[in-house]
Amino acid sequence: MKFNIPIGPQHPALKEPISLRMTVEGEVIRDVDIRLGYNHRGLEKLAEERSWVQNIYLTERICGICSHSHTTCYVQGVEKLMEIEPPKRGNYIRYLVSELERIHSHLLWLGVAGHEAGFDSFFMYTWRDREVVMDLLEMISGNRVHYAINTIGGVRRDLDEGLVKKILDGIQVLRARSEYYFKIGANEPTFVGRLAGVGFLSKQQAIDLCAVGPTTRASGVAIDIRKDDPHAVYDEVPFDVCTADSCDVLGRTVVRIKELMESYKICEFLLKNLPAGDIAVKAPKKAKPNEVVSRYEAPRGENIHYIKSNGTEKPERLKVRAPTLANYPATVEMLKNGFIADIPLIFAAIDPCVCCAERTVEIVNARSGEEKVLRFSQLRALAAARYKNSPVQRNAVWPF
């Protein structure tokens, strides 16, 4: 006998609102219907109203955990449009913060996976160790979340000798702790019993459904933008792409822990070989009319920003394709024929960052419940028709 269970929009298993309507039969899931749009903030439209520099801070606030990924992806694209190249030291510092953010994000994910599985002690321990990384990032950039260290043409703050030493010490501590968590994760029988064999996604399915990030690397597909499309520092830094073959949630855990160890190696290489020099070049105010696609390996997968300029100091169009959006079709496949008890783990295993992915909206007629999908050109025509005769506003109108 099938009945529908709504997981979300409000649910303790989800950190952000998303609606997964499950059709269940007993404890087995038969079908999933994903509905997005609860966290839509109109960021792409807001980006068209702000100048290139102001947009750095706007893109940073697309997400809290992968904030640096969005900024870096955007700034890479804008630097290409303006045809400037940041100096070497600036690049090293920028990607050092990227790897530190990857460490922080994976430690956060380990804790969340533990919490979803009911393993609260593991959650407390990994988040306590994540404080080491957060404190390091606070020393480098001035804030624990939203580091805002990028500027067009380089970075804003420099590292001095004492700070470099502190980061290296912090990485030593974290490396010892991560090896301990690897041992626990692989050996605690109740935890492994929850993770093994759950959320199966075969290699062919991962390729067909265009999954990205650790989700597909756990199915044996070795794609990593840092290796496939090396840019800036990644052609100089030696590291390996981490894969696993078990195609399930345990594989994804193993991939993320291995990536933690790789990030420690990359950070140490970057710090020991930090070149001297400037940290930024001066950027012009306007960009020539052109369009650019910028890719970046965020902790969750491949992040794509498409930026189009028209010669003014504001972008014409910014389109963000976050990695979580690419993982949703794979999630539907993974949830089918799973148990209800596995829903939080399968969903948490793709490392969902729902607010990153809120770039699409489905139009639902509130009275009849009918759903419609509009083409982008139709949406733009509707918006242009509505605002055509309203007065030009340079800035937002603040009510007080």
Binding site: Q54, R61, S121, Y125, E138, V192
Partner: protein, 142 residues
Amino acid sequence: MRLAVFMPELLRHLFKKPATVDYPFKKLEVPKGFRGTPFLHPDICIACRACERDCPAEAIEITSVSDVEKKFKMVIHNDRCVHCAQCVDSCPTNPVKAMEMDHLFETAGFDRHDLKMEWVFVRALPKKEPKPAAPAAGPAQP
């Protein structure tokens, strides 16, 4: 697959001090360079409006009080501020910048109008640099 592999670590923590900072009763130290709230040094500001243009949250408002005396009023709306410190970076005065971030983070209040700060000041004269490489210290047109 070993049983109770977590137990020695757990038992060891019974005798360690907790990692929690007992927050309102014990304060945390913030590092140097922490981005708190922005404030102005009115004696150095040349009212070039670079910070007002670059602020992503439109939190800085510079109005001219009197054209004759070159008096300006700057209001920083701390309720709109996102603490990005772009105003500090955009400020062209040197050697000391007119905008600076302090280390305050306990800025909560009951009314958002209490969070606005104002300065009324006479515009400082930009220093005349002989043949500058980039005329960053010149008065910009609003």
